[in-house]
C-alpha cells in the first residue's frame, strides 16, 4: 500500500466535461485548469524583501492594484496592498515556495494554497456576456484588459478573476468547496450562447 501513488483530484475531477479542451470556434467555452501551483504571498511591497522576491520570481510584483505580472508559466496577481497570488505550473509550487521563503527571510509570508482553489477558464466572443450574468465587474475592454485581475463575486461565490488574453480569455479562481456549484452555474449561464459563434 505504501508503494501506490495516491490519487490527486481537482474538485471537478468527477465531472468529465470540466476537462474538455477549449474550442476557438465556439462563442464561449469552459474548462478547468486543475491543480495549478498557487502561493499566497504577503509582504510590504516597498521593502527590500520585495526586491529579493522579484529576483526569485524572475519578474516584479504588480505595482498597481488589480494587475497581474508574469513571465513563462508564472504570474503574480495583486490581491491587496500587501497580498499577492503567485501562480505557477502544476507541481512547481513547492520549489517556488521554498525560494520565495528564502527571499523573504521572515519579512513576510508565503503559504501554499494550491489546493484551496481551482481555476476555471472561460473564453470566447461571448465570455463577457456569460460572466455579466453573475458578476458586477465592468469587463468592457476600455476598462478591463488582459493582464488585469480583480476579486469579486460571481453568482454566489467569491472569485479572483484574471483576464489572460484578448479572445477574451479569463481564469476564474474559485474556492474548492464552491467549485462544483460555480462550474454548473457557468455551464448553465453559457447555455444560451454556446451554440452561437
Amino acid at each position: 500500500m505504501a508503494d501506490a501513488v495516491p490519487v490527486a483530484r481537482s474538485p471537478l475531477a468527477h465531472l468529465p466535461e470540466a476537462a474538455r479542451e477549449m474550442r476557438d470556434d465556439l462563442a464561449v467555452s469552459l474548462r478547468e485548469r486543475p491543480l495549478l501551483g498557487l502561493l499566497n504571498l504577503r509582504l510590504d511591497a516597498a521593502s527590500e524583501a520585495a526586491q529579493r522576491v522579484k529576483a526569485a520570481l524572475g519578474f516584479g510584483l504588480p505595482g498597481e492594484p488589480n494587475r497581474a505580472t508574469g513571465e513563462g508559466g508564472r504570474s503574480a496577481l495583486w490581491l491587496g496592498p500587501d497580498e499577492y497570488l503567485v501562480v505557477t505550473e502544476p507541481g512547481g509550487e513547492a520549489a517556488l515556495a521554498r525560494s520565495l521563503a528564502e527571499a523573504l527571510q521572515d519579512r513576510g509570508a508565503v503559504t501554499d494554497v494550491s489546493d484551496g482553489r481551482t481555476a476555471i477558464e472561460i473564453a470566447g466572443s461571448r465570455a463577457r456576456d456569460v460572466l455579466a450574468t453573475g458578476c458586477s465587474l465592468d469587463l468592457h475592454p476600455r476598462v478591463f484588459r488582459a493582464g488585469q485581475c480583480a476579486q469579486s463575486g460571481l453568482a454566489k461565490a467569491r472569485i479572483i478573476l484574471h483576464q489572460i488574453d484578448d479572445r477574451p480569455g479569463y481564469r476564474v479562481f474559485v474556492e474548492r468547496s464552491h467549485a462544483e456549484y460555480l462550474w454548473l452555474w457557468l455551464m448553465d449561464a453559457a447555455a444560451e450562447y454556446r451554440a452561437a459563434t
Binding site: 492594484p65 491587496g80 496592498p81 497580498e83 458586477s136 480583480a150 476579486q151 469579486s152 463575486g153
Partner: protein
C-alpha cells in the same frame, strides 16, 4: 445599492463590502475605563441624520478596511480615506 469607491480597487458594488459601523471609535484604556466608558465603546453610537463617518471592509475584494464619510439621508459618499489617514475636514 450603493457604489462604494474602495481606495485601492475603485468603485465597486455595495454587495462586495461589509459595513463596519461608525468609525473613529476609540477603544478606551482598559485599566482606567469605567463600566460606563466600556459600555459606550461597545454599544453607543451617534446615529446622525446627515454626515456619518463610518468603516467599511471590501470583504469580497481586497479585504481592506477603510473609512467612508457618507450622508445617511442622501447616501452621497463625500469622502473615502484609509484607516491610517485622518478624518478629512470641511465636508
Amino acid at each position: 445599492m450603493l457604489l462604494i469607491p474602495c481606495p485601492w480597487c475603485g468603485p465597486r458594488e455595495e454587495g462586495e463590502f461589509a459595513p463596519g459601523g461608525e468609525g473613529h471609535i476609540r477603544r478606551p484604556e482598559p485599566q482606567a475605563a469605567s463600566d460606563q466608558d466600556w459600555a459606550e465603546y461597545l454599544y453607543y453610537r451617534t446615529n446622525p441624520k446627515g454626515l456619518h463617518f463610518e468603516r467599511w471592509v471590501h470583504a469580497a475584494g481586497c479585504r481592506r478596511w477603510f473609512n467612508v464619510a457618507r450622508d445617511t439621508v442622501t447616501h452621497e459618499i463625500r469622502a473615502v480615506y484609509k484607516m491610517s489617514e485622518n478624518r478629512p475636514e470641511g465636508l
